[in-house]
Amino acid sequence: MRKRLCLFVLLLAALLLLSACHGSRKVGSFEVPQSLDTSRDYEIVFWAKNDTNKTQTEIYQKAIDDFQALYPNIHVNMRLYTDYGKIYNDVITNISTNTTPNVCITYPDHIATYMTGNNVVVPLDPLFSDPRYGLGGSELRFDGPAQDEIIPQFLSECVIAGTHYALPYMRSTEAVYINKTFVEKLGYEVPDILTWDFIWEVSDKAAQKDADGVYLLNGQKVMIPFIYKSTDNMMIQMLRQLGAGYSTENGGILLFNDTTKSLLETISQHVSNGAFSTFKISSYPANFLNAGQCVFAVDSTAGATWMGSEAPLTDISRDKFVAFETAMRMVPQFDPANPKMISQGPSVCVFNHGDPQEVLASWLFTQYLLSNDVQIAYASTEGYVPVTTCAQQAPEYVDYLARIGEDNKEHYAVKIEASRLLTDNVASTFVTPAFNGSASLRDAAGQLIENTVKSVRRKQTVDDAYFEKLYSDIVSLYHLNQGDSAQGMGGKQDLGPLPGMSRGLLIGLVVLWVGIGLYALRDFLEKHRKDFSKRK
């Protein structure tokens, strides 16, 4: 009985050791199969993000149909999302049950968090370079881009800790959509590049009301002169333009600095003047812009079809639209001679469920999303830019851009201008480093602005003590205090020597295992001695 117990304990220990080995398998252990096993059927789950745009979902569906015609044994099941945050939440929820999708539209910031699960996200470099199934590979049944045909700047955004974990799918940036008629009515001309000083000055002037609370500029009771959709981008871009800290490459957190505080103070002054609000506090910038209730609306170029007095898409009824001349510019700058604007947009990653053949099938579909047909069709639905040179230089895409303003649907002028804004300024774009926790840091950057704006509107005192508490609250809310804030969350830190109790526990474990081993050995020797004696 004791022997059986001992054997059982040893077996259990071996299993535990084996399972520990499995659990600690390094990311990167995926190996590209020699060939795709076409004798099998594959069910690939694809989580896609669209901008609540029917044409985009139709393009996804056509891409799936066309791909399945090329690879009849690969079936792609699409789930649609309209919100990156929801995709992120659902992926995080599904990692523990190994029920993530196979292919997913997402942000590199989010991928960095997914990677905290072991071997969850497939490192793509071996797949990129595979001569048969890699980028431009010989066995592809479609004309996919070679690696050097993907815009290097966009591809580099998909690098996390030195490895590609995604392919860029579409790229966009932010733009200021302007009611030029209002700017001129206030006595200004719209410059080629807006400065922050200009935008604040004009916005303060636009906020003037008469004694009855009616705004002098539009004759209405509602006016938000300057409204920003993504305040995380607002803070990140302001800091980058000023050369101030946000994060280090390896996850050090630099956001909570004096420049940030100074920016928040400036924002708070203009909020108190009634000049500024945000999407989270008020609503979509387009709704105010198109109703003549806003002068400067900052939103993604991927939302260009919603912006302007002739916008083809709208959430407000057409009778609320007012006529005005719409202008579009890059986001406001501190140094117009050295502009900086964020590069953003969806990327695609592949999840690993432990079946290399399934990963290969997923990778083929991921690549297919970069084929010209898909790239050009999808980019034309909004102010997106294709991520490959072959798509950007394709005659049909060049023709699409050239037909700017021909109609108010496919060739809506504001939309095509938005695409051009990015293609003309790729060299001025930047991205923030992706690391485990970078998504939280991004949220924190925006929340600093949101909280400040709300506090001013609520007539709370916004002073040094306020900012000190705000920093502390935001650090706590987004768990940015996991270790030394200067080192951040994603960086490798020297944690120092193990505490005494931990060392004691580890030593105890070693002693215990040695004891079990000795006991088993003694038992084994005794048994064999007896057997040997019997045989003798």
């Binding site: 609540t52 029917k54 789930r79 609503s283 959430d315 009824s317 509107r457």
Partner: protein, 241 residues
Amino acid sequence: MKKILALMLTLCVLLGLSAFASAEETKGEGVMTYAEYAAADLDTEVVVETYVQAKQSWWDNKATVYTQDQDGAYFLYNMACSEEDYAKLVPGTKIKVTGYKSAWSGEVEITDATFEIEEGSFIAEPLDITDKLASEDLINYQNLLVSFKGMTVEASNDEGAAFLYSWDGSGAHDSNSDLYFKVSKDGQTYSFTVESYLCDNTTDVYAAVENLKVGDVIDLTGFLYWYEGANPHIISVAAAQ
């Protein structure tokens, strides 16, 4: 006859007093009446006692809840709430809410709120506001549990669909998209929604709307949510009685 009249008058007074007392009873110290809440400026702190009528969503310790008391409704957006407490917020639960009165796209709501559960229960009956749909007075019923009777289903797009997944048809059943559909009354057409966080694709109302046909005459119940105009969040659909 005089005695009967006197008795009826006394009963009316007593009923009135008891209703008043009941309303008074539900409000603790420092708690606003619905009238005070309605009169409060935006971006000011409000404290109300109200009753959960339905829950829309919970994520990351934030809950979005439809509530109302006997006098009016309060939409609680992203209220601080643990998952454990969220489970306690069953319909009828009385809660004391402290937050800020805010407006988002015309929807008046309480944001940045905290709450505590109190003793008491109240489930609202839907208020029939069919005759208010076309009136400017409609906004005064914002967020209430309401009903609309004898509405005719209209085509939601040029192809004659009775409903759309997402506002433009870009969604899908399996994606648990919101459902949008149009109904008319007296020559006016209105857009209604099945909010999929409130009633997802496994609910009866979701299935009922998916089975609608243009021309069907239906009764609807829902919460009078607002997004750039009335945007009722429908929770039940039935053939018109």
